[in-house]
Symmetry: C2
Subunit: 401 residues, 2 copies
C-alpha cells in the first residue's frame, strides 16, 4: 500500500525546491529558471544529496518526468509559433543555425587540439560545443512574454536547423572515431530523412489543420481536443527520435501544428497548468547533474572558465553574424539566445566518456560548461531583450512565471 512513499518524497523535494529557487531568483530580478536550476544543484548530489545520482540516471522516473517537462515546454512554445512567422525569418534562421554550429565546432576543436588531444578526439570534443538546447531559451522568452518577437522566431527556427546539423556532426565524429571514414551517402540519407520529416510534418500538418480543424470541436468535453493534441505531441516527440532528432523538435512541431487550429487559445490556457507541474522537473534535474566535486582543483576551474568562455563567445559570434541583417541589437539577442547547451552537450559528453574518448575531467568540464551556459544565458538574455524592447513589438506580462 505504501511502496510509493520514497518517490513521493523525491517528487515533493524537486517540486518545492523549484518553487523556492524560482521565487528567490525573481526577487533578485533574475529569470525564475535560473533559480530552478540552482535549486537543483543545491538539492542534488553535489550539495545536500537529497537527490542521489541513481535517481537522476537515464530512464529513472525523475529523468522521464524531466523529459516530459521539456517536451511539454517546447510543445507550448510551438503553440505560440505560427508556421507563417517562421517562414518569414527562414533565411536568417538558417544562417544562424549553420554559423552557430560551425563557429563553436571550429573553436572547440582548436581548443581541444591545443590541449593535447589528437584531431579525431578533438573533433568529438568539439561536437559537445555545438548543440543549442532550446528549452532554456524558450523558457526565458516565455517568462518575458517575448515569444512573438522576431528574434524569438529566429532563435526557434535556428534551434531546429542546429539540431539537424548537430546530429549529422555527431554521426561524422563517431564514424571518424571508429576509424571507419565518413560514409557520405549514409549522412546524406540521414539529412534527407530529418529534413523530410520536419517538412512533411511541420508544413503538411500545419496546412491540414488550417484547412480544417473542426473535427477537434468535439462536443463531449472541453478536454478531448487537449487529449488529441497531447497524443500528437507524444507521438511526434517519439517519431522525431527515430529520425535522429531530439524529442523536443517533434513536440515543437506538434505545438506548431496545433497553433493553426481554432482551439489554439483554449489549448494555450490548458497547457499552462501542465507546464506549472512538469517543467520544474526538467530544470531541477538539469541543475542536480552539476558535479561540483569534479571541479575542486584550480586547474579544473581555469579550464572550465576557458571552455565556458569559448562556448559562449563562439555561439555568440555564430548567432550574431547569422542574424546581422536584423541590426546589431537584435543580432546580440539572437546570439545570446543560442548560447545555452543544456542537456544535449551532457548527452554527447556521456557518449564520449563511455567511448573512452573523454577523460573523466574533460567530461565533468563539458557537463559543467553545458550547465553554466544554461545558467548564464537567462539573465543576460533577459537584459538584452529589455534593452531592445524599443522595437515597438508587443511585450506582455514581463514577469510571467
Amino acid at each position: 500500500m505504501h511502496h510509493a512513499s520514497d518517490i513521493l518524497l523525491t517528487l515533493f523535494i524537486v517540486f518545492i525546491a523549484a518553487q523556492i529557487g524560482g521565487e528567490i531568483a525573481q526577487r533578485l530580478k533574475l529569470p525564475g529558471v535560473v533559480g530552478e536550476i540552482a535549486a537543483g544543484c543545491v538539492v542534488g548530489p553535489s550539495v545536500l544529496g537529497w537527490i542521489t545520482p541513481e535517481q537522476i540516471a537515464s530512464g529513472t522516473p525523475l529523468d522521464v518526468l524531466a523529459e516530459i517537462g521539456v517536451v511539454l515546454l517546447l510543445f507550448a512554445v510551438g503553440l505560440e509559433t505560427r508556421l507563417e512567422d517562421l517562414k518569414k525569418v527562414g533565411k536568417v534562421a538558417f544562417l544562424v543555425g549553420v554559423l552557430g554550429v560551425l563557429v563553436p565546432f571550429g573553436m572547440g576543436g582548436v581548443w581541444a587540439h591545443g590541449n593535447g588531444f589528437d584531431w579525431s578526439r578533438s573533433l568529438f570534443i568539439a561536437a559537445a560545443f555545438v548543440a543549442t538546447s532550446a528549452g532554456i531559451t524558450a523558457r526565458v522568452l516565455q517568462e518575458l512574454g517575448a515569444l512573438q518577437r522576431t528574434e524569438s522566431k529566429v532563435i526557434l527556427g535556428a534551434a531546429v536547423i542546429d539540431d539537424i546539423l548537430a546530429m549529422l556532426l555527431l554521426g561524422v565524429v563517431v564514424s571518424i572515431q571508429g576509424g571507419e571514414g565518413i560514409d557520405l551517402m549514409h549522412l546524406l540519407a540521414v539529412l534527407l530523412g530529418a529534413v523530410g520529416f520536419i517538412a512533411v510534418i511541420g508544413v503538411g500538418g500545419a496546412r491540414v489543420m488550417r484547412w480544417n480543424s473542426s473535427w477537434l470541436d468535439t462536443p463531449r468535453s472541453p478536454h478531448s481536443a487537449l487529449a488529441i493534441v497531447l497524443a500528437l505531441c507524444l507521438g511526434l516527440a517519439y517519431v522525431s527520435t527515430l529520425f535522429g532528432l531530439a524529442a523536443i523538435i517533434g513536440a515543437f512541431l506538434a505545438g506548431m501544428i496545433a497553433s493553426e487550429t481554432r482551439q489554439q487559445h483554449a489549448l494555450e490556457k490548458q497547457t499552462q497548468p501542465l507546464l506549472a507541474l512538469l517543467t520544474p522537473f526538467f530544470f531541477v534535474v538539469t541543475g542536480s547533474k552539476i558535479d561540483l566535486s569534479q571541479l575542486a582543483s584550480l586547474e579544473a576551474d581555469i579550464m572550465l572558465l576557458v571552455v565556458t568562455l569559448i562556448a559562449i563567445v563562439s555561439k555568440l559570434i555564430g548567432g550574431f553574424l547569422g542574424s546581422l541583417s536584423l541590426g546589431t541589437r537584435s543580432a546580440t539577442v539572437v546570439g545570446f539566445g543560442m548560447v545555452p547547451r543544456g542537456e544535449v552537450g551532457v548527452v554527447i559528453a556521456s557518449l564520449g566518456l563511455s567511448a573512452g574518448v573523454f577523460t573523466p575531467q574533460i567530461y565533468a568540464i563539458i557537463v559543467a560548461m553545458s550547465l553554466l551556459t544554461a545558467m548564464v544565458t537567462p539573465p543576460v538574455l533577459a537584459w538584452t531583450l529589455r534593452r531592445t524592447r524599443a522595437n515597438g513589438e508587443k511585450v506582455e506580462a514581463p514577469e510571467l512565471r
Copy 2:
C-alpha cells in the same frame, strides 16, 4: 540525445490506448474509465505485450506516472469536497466504512478457510478482500458530475475510514502470520497517529484556509497559487504514507483544504488538464496488470467468479447496511460505490505472495478479482446513480470526460 526514445514510445502507447479505450467505452454508453482499464489489459503483457511486466513494476517511470495520476485525481476530488459537507454525513460514512470492512473480511475469511487454508492464512487472504480503492469510484462520480450528491460524500468519507481500518487489519494479520501475537498498544498508536493526522490536517488546514487564503492571491502569476497547492498535494501525499495511509488520502485532504480558498474555482479549472494528461496512466497501468494466463483453467475461472461475487456482495452488504438511513436507493449507490478494490487488493496480494502465504494461483485470482470489481463497478454505479437522480440534487454534465 536519443536515449529517451523507448520511454516516449511507451508513453505514447499508454496515452493513445487510454483515448481509444475511453472513446469506445463512451460509445457503448459505459464510463470512459472502463475503456481505459480494458485498453490497459489489451496493450499489456496478457494480450499485445506492447507494455512489458518490467515496465509496470513498482518504482518504474510508468508506475510513478500512474501514482501521480491517481494522486492528482483524488486531489481534484478533494477540491470539489467541502469539509462541512463531509461532516454532515460523518456518522453514516463511519458506519459504511466499518461495516464495509468487517463484512468482506468475515466472508473472505470463511471462504478461504472453506478452501482448505488454516485460519491464520485465511485471515491474510481475507484482508485482500477489504480495502476499497477510491480512485475508480471517484472517477465515475466525477464523470457523471455527481460529486456533490450525498451518496458521493458518504462514499468519500467512508473511503477514508476504510483505508484506516484496512491498514490496521493488515498490521494484525501480518503479526498473526509471524506468530508474534497482536500488540494492542502498537495498533492503538498506529490508529491514533492516522486519525490524528487526518483530523489535524483536514480540519485544521481547512479552518486556516477559510480564515485567510489571501496570501495565495499572488499578483505575479495566475499559476503560482496552483504551484503552491500542488506542492501541498505532493507533500501531504507523502506524509500520509508515513502514517501508514495511502498517498491518495493525503492528496484528497490537500484538495479539501484548497477547496476552502478563494481560488477554488480557478484551481478546479487548472487541475482539469493535469487530469487529462496523467490519470490515463493510472487506469491503463491498472488494466495492464491483469494476468490472463494465470486464469486459463476452468477451475481457476470458477474460483475467480466465486471470489469476485463474494467481494462484490460482501462490500455491497456492508455499504448498504451502513447507509440504510439514507433510504434503500441511496444505500444501493453507496454499496456499489464501495465495491472496487483496485490497486490496494493487488498490493496486499503481492505482500502475501512474497511472504509465502498466497499460492501463485490465489495471488492471480485475488489480483484479477480486484481488477474485475474495478471494471464491473463503473457501469453499475453509473446505472444506479441515474436511476436515483430523482433526489432533486444538481447533476451536471452527465458525460463529462
